[in-house]
Symmetry: D3
Subunit: 321 residues, 6 copies
Amino acid sequence: MLTAKDPQTGRRSMGLHRLQVKGSRRLGIHLANPPISRFAAKAEENNRPLDVAISLGVHPILLLASIVSSPIEDKVAIAGSLLGSRLALTKCETSDVDVPAHAEVVIEGKVLPKLREPEGPFGETSGYYFSDQSHVIEVTAITHRKNPILQALHPTSQEVALLCGPAGEAEIVQMLREKGFAVEDLALSAPSGRTHVAVSLKKRHDSDPKQLLHFLLAGVPYIKHAVVMDDDVNVQDPGDVEWAIATRVQGDEDLIVIPNLRARSIDPSKKAGMFTAKVGIDATVPVAERHRFKRIGVPSAIKQGVAKRLAAIISPALAGR
Amino acid sequence: MLTAKDPQTGRRSMGLHRLQVKGSRRLGIHLANPPISRFAAKAEENNRPLDVAISLGVHPILLLASIVSSPIEDKVAIAGSLLGSRLALTKCETSDVDVPAHAEVVIEGKVLPKLREPEGPFGETSGYYFSDQSHVIEVTAITHRKNPILQALHPTSQEVALLCGPAGEAEIVQMLREKGFAVEDLALSAPSGRTHVAVSLKKRHDSDPKQLLHFLLAGVPYIKHAVVMDDDVNVQDPGDVEWAIATRVQGDEDLIVIPNLRARSIDPSKKAGMFTAKVGIDATVPVAERHRFKRIGVPSAIKQGVAKRLAAIISPALAGR
Amino acid sequence: MLTAKDPQTGRRSMGLHRLQVKGSRRLGIHLANPPISRFAAKAEENNRPLDVAISLGVHPILLLASIVSSPIEDKVAIAGSLLGSRLALTKCETSDVDVPAHAEVVIEGKVLPKLREPEGPFGETSGYYFSDQSHVIEVTAITHRKNPILQALHPTSQEVALLCGPAGEAEIVQMLREKGFAVEDLALSAPSGRTHVAVSLKKRHDSDPKQLLHFLLAGVPYIKHAVVMDDDVNVQDPGDVEWAIATRVQGDEDLIVIPNLRARSIDPSKKAGMFTAKVGIDATVPVAERHRFKRIGVPSAIKQGVAKRLAAIISPALAGR
Amino acid sequence: MLTAKDPQTGRRSMGLHRLQVKGSRRLGIHLANPPISRFAAKAEENNRPLDVAISLGVHPILLLASIVSSPIEDKVAIAGSLLGSRLALTKCETSDVDVPAHAEVVIEGKVLPKLREPEGPFGETSGYYFSDQSHVIEVTAITHRKNPILQALHPTSQEVALLCGPAGEAEIVQMLREKGFAVEDLALSAPSGRTHVAVSLKKRHDSDPKQLLHFLLAGVPYIKHAVVMDDDVNVQDPGDVEWAIATRVQGDEDLIVIPNLRARSIDPSKKAGMFTAKVGIDATVPVAERHRFKRIGVPSAIKQGVAKRLAAIISPALAGR
Amino acid sequence: MLTAKDPQTGRRSMGLHRLQVKGSRRLGIHLANPPISRFAAKAEENNRPLDVAISLGVHPILLLASIVSSPIEDKVAIAGSLLGSRLALTKCETSDVDVPAHAEVVIEGKVLPKLREPEGPFGETSGYYFSDQSHVIEVTAITHRKNPILQALHPTSQEVALLCGPAGEAEIVQMLREKGFAVEDLALSAPSGRTHVAVSLKKRHDSDPKQLLHFLLAGVPYIKHAVVMDDDVNVQDPGDVEWAIATRVQGDEDLIVIPNLRARSIDPSKKAGMFTAKVGIDATVPVAERHRFKRIGVPSAIKQGVAKRLAAIISPALAGR
Amino acid sequence: MLTAKDPQTGRRSMGLHRLQVKGSRRLGIHLANPPISRFAAKAEENNRPLDVAISLGVHPILLLASIVSSPIEDKVAIAGSLLGSRLALTKCETSDVDVPAHAEVVIEGKVLPKLREPEGPFGETSGYYFSDQSHVIEVTAITHRKNPILQALHPTSQEVALLCGPAGEAEIVQMLREKGFAVEDLALSAPSGRTHVAVSLKKRHDSDPKQLLHFLLAGVPYIKHAVVMDDDVNVQDPGDVEWAIATRVQGDEDLIVIPNLRARSIDPSKKAGMFTAKVGIDATVPVAERHRFKRIGVPSAIKQGVAKRLAAIISPALAGR
């Protein structure tokens, strides 16, 4: 977890960035996401280093706060709000930034201006090794508690999925509801590295799903494939999603292919010039045809009757055991 | 399990067909698949009934033999070959057909010519209720063992999936390998009602997957959506398939949409005139780009080292227990 | 200008709605836009009328406030903020709503529940006559100043264009900038009834314009056709926009056609089921080709030299006049 | 204005060609259009120079005659016919061509064979600077009147638009009418450099506009984008054209994109190999839907009544002034 | 062969039209082509009959003249020009028209205004039976030579093909050459009913064939499918054309499909609303790839050598016979 | 005709392969087809030569057997079966293979491992010259009858067409019928080099032709273009096929274009990476429209009447001769 300040406004913020040990006092760092990527760019414009500190072994809520994308750039404040109390900070020794008071290890240093070096290959959330030309940190000090305990984040592990998934899902649901879409539920799939999304919708008009898909694929950069379903489908169950695609899609009418959008840098299938194609699937039933799509199920009256009879058989048996 | 004879050649065969009790001596029967649908059609041309017998409570291998699609129409012979011994048969009392000697219940009757009645709605493998205009059987006799035990087949249950899946997969793999495709593995997905298929392939040329997809979608009537992957993907793991689609597909180049093919009657999304569109996905890596698609994994040397160290730690601990 | 209260929360708001005189105490009203359309729907659910008041001859800033689409539903507050002072309100005599204190005429009444009557045809902003099944107001009182002066709004007049244009443009610019698009300028065209939009952009990547167009066409319901240009084009000058389309577009690569989105009710070309197709045009120069697209112009040094010489010639001449 | 003779037939003709001063006796000349480009090619085949003369300061009708594309190659005759009297000519002193007797300046010379030199960049009618490998004229003599007065033609000025527009419009209208299209009016737009054309049509069948667009885009090399409208739209008013596109087009049915046609050399967006895509828009109302597209307007009876009343009010007022 | 006069201008013309005997003094007539269809329409506007005469047994050149489509409407003059001498005419007895003096049979009558009756079915050039609502002629007189000899024209016979083919081919070649296309040869195919055309071209630019195909398919109403080839292909040999399509076409780049053009009335595959789709095939070799497309052939030196040797062997043998 | 043995199994087989004389003891050989291409590959894996023998002047049935593609690899057995008697073989002198006992000339040798040399250009069945990097045979012995007589096969001659055509047609018909398509007749066209196929079908459902075309184009590598027709069309008559395409196809619905399939090596239009596009044409009449497509013909009753009358006229005339 990296902390730094905006060189212009002095406002502090936090972020999660990939590091690589490159020598006893030298770290590679992958600055691909705002706000700290912006701080570094501003410092570089004036040919100045950017003071940073890396805190290891922090409260998990700080990780969550670091990755929320929000108009509020002060992620320390977001962390405080999630914690329910102000986040205790402390000054660094050699670097002009604050760090969480309870971090187990703090590495202080400066991001050097106008310097890029090969970094990686690291395993990325896409499931592939990924290299890039990245920034370099010169380490100025390391402080730590006695016998410090660290949490390592492996990009393809469940930990990242659990950490990033809910934040992203909540953001997208809010964005869609603000535009008037009656979203019922939404799931980013873990195996896809959170690039696949399944949405269930109380559809009012047959144009709703197509409009939602275009808005979503153009509006959320990291989503590549999306499927929209009616609200009788459980988006949390991949089998249910597959069933909807199998029985409610006609590929020549319900697929939307959008070429030439902007790709994620870690997608190995991206095209020259950072382009990607995205695909949307409308797996909803036409409003006028809903009567033809009655899902098999046991009526609740019968379910209750069966439960009663089973109870009548099983309970005495159990009692007699 | 229905048995009947070809009215022209006298050759017997078997099939699994949906029945509906319509009165004390009257059954509805859905004759949608050969060979018995053909026997009924031939009898009907001469305006004659078709003698049939329904055997309930039979060896499961007979069910498997009934649904194999094969140029060999004599499914009794197929059953014998699967059993490893000739299938014991016995004559019916009122109907000119043979039935398995060990059936628990046998219902004898005739499919009436030139008569169709509404049948259903029944839950079908597509997951929806489905009705049709179907044939009618006039029951002529019922014989059974004492305290007969039946196996009921529920169309959306795992039982059907386990029964039908492997037979279909084996047939398709053979068809593809005969055409020279180096198929590695193949899976029909259960939640889709076996209309989705995932294939892994040792791809030689970049045109292999597209050619395979066109051949498969046009050649296998019940497949609606298919995806082809390289052989480093496990087609039995839906998460692995999703990962391949997420990271190896560009929707404007790798999707094949084929409109106007023939739909399955139980697909509720089918279009007027029994048409359907089918979709194929090429999720393989271009031959020339394979070096860029190195999957994250732990090298086997390291895996073994870790295993050794763990053993060194764990074994003494266990020994001391 | 209509005022009403939310039947649930009691919060007041305002809106501009089309009226038709249908009798001495009866008005037709076209309630197609929130929030008052929502208030009426809520009242109707409980089978109750909605008290409303129509204020004619009000401060023009109130009209502007009425049509702003904003998450803040209290448009009286918006009007106050635009006026720079609290809007003076007064109670109605027969209707439970407040009206601007200085209105020239106030018509009080109730929107009747579960009643729709044919309304129109009226000339609409699309330039065509348009009819609909609309709500009905029962008038309960009319109050007015002596010799009241009214402002009539003609839907196809410049007045509506001047009133609605800037509000819509500001909203869209903000929406695009929040998504990170470096929008330079934006113009809704008056002859198209504000359904055509021209956007100029400081393009960073070649995928920016396509992503913007998809986001805009799916995100803004009333926009039908959109064109994106580089920031050397003046979006306020239709000739300049046409020049960019003529010299920077290749129709097979730069046109985006999105079928099956939701149409505006007043678009006479809309398809059955309220669908419409929308079109986006990317009239920007590829980043790598900018050097080839140097616009003709007179260098500023020469312009100044010419100005000097003209001054040297003209000034004495004028002086001698 | 250049004059020359066909080296084979001796027939004279005229043309407008771009010149560049390259030395005291050397001019660059851009020979891209027939007939003089053909004369130069014929002379070059025999490795001979082509005698030419450039006349500056001539009757404007000669400019118009020079640019008409006509099967009649003798543009001197065309000029005479436009003037209503035979064009007076005079022999050159050093070059074997005739020039208009009243030209203010005449530059005589020879186009050199098998020589091309870089020429430009000049601002072209496309609005961009444009360079090419062009022919060279060796100047042999210059004659002129005393205090000669010249007309300079600036390619992006209104002068060129006024000069070239009507000639092109008349040619296209004739070509379309000969094919049986009931063209009502037609306008080449000035800001597009006359590459955009708007056509109004008395449409008889719904296939007329599409057939016209294909014929026009393939038949007229310099037209890139074309729109066809019904005859209630004024093609001379860009706002009216935009209104028709906004309210009568469904982009998935009414757009025609033709890739791989031949591009104009001065179009900076042209693709490698001189290809271009062209686009046609059918903005007509389907014949069967005309009743739904009634344009807003004031009935003429009412217009006259208003005019009368206004006259009754205004005239006395004016009289009393 | 029908003759009539323009009711407005009095100018006579001729045409070939399908007739059906409907009674002793009543003929059905199919007036689908100008100029006589126009004459009848003009007469009908004034609610007047159109005097006509049908000449049977005439000089074949008159048939050819009748079907030429030309801006010169006076087909009598065209016939004269083809004959090389003025066509001798004679007045009718009961009808105000002239007929060829040497016709074997002349049927005089009037096309009745505002009357249409079912006509046909007749076998048409499309190879199908075709019916229509057609005009009716009231016969006023029949004159004939002794033992008259007639030529019957069967629409699907070689006679029609030989008659209509060359006229159509010449017209299209001229139209294309006027537009600057270097057409080498052109063939309308007989089995297609002259709706298929094969064109060979000295291609200069790769865009030539596509531009030609669009111009041809939109400009010639009766052409449905067209193929363009290089000039090393013999368009008169269907096998050669097929070979070019087999070895020089890539279907995803070289096929042009134009939907929604106007259909011929006798095409049974036409869509509702008289629409048709047309297809063009570019079977030319890309200019830059010509070296790869060297056709197999025997070099002429070897051919001559073989001829000599054969002669040396055969001649003495023949001589000795 | 080449004979060789599988280096693993020792099973013999035969094939037709292109040879080039490269020296007194050296032949180039084009090994593009199994099984002998596979034998050579296996030998090469072990870095060993493959013994082969070339037999010239053999029974034509052996040529046919050589080119049949069949799961039965032993083409000697196929030849025997076609001959109706066992094929007499004899051992070679220097090469470990058998050859037909009656061959006129036998060339014995070895295909050298890991050696490829430029071969050709030869005229190929595509009608073009074709070169490749090919294997080399070192000749070890030549044996022959006295005055041996050879049959030379010219790739573009009728001989190859007659030889290869029927074998291919029979294979494809069988493949289609096994899939349930009611194929009536099928023709590979000679001028296309057997890459064009015309199929006639007793169509049951409108989806049959599209399904057949996809199956055929993906399943038969050498077919590039295919057309399906109803069974009233004679696929052996190119004019009949053209007529069906002219009158039963709508290009926007009935054309299937499949890009990115695998090309034949001898197709000069193939794309980089050995890709090709294939095209299918559905020229069948929609089932519901068959009544509108009645082909012109003379009813058989009339035909017989005419025949009788002609006989009555002609026979006496002939008798009197």
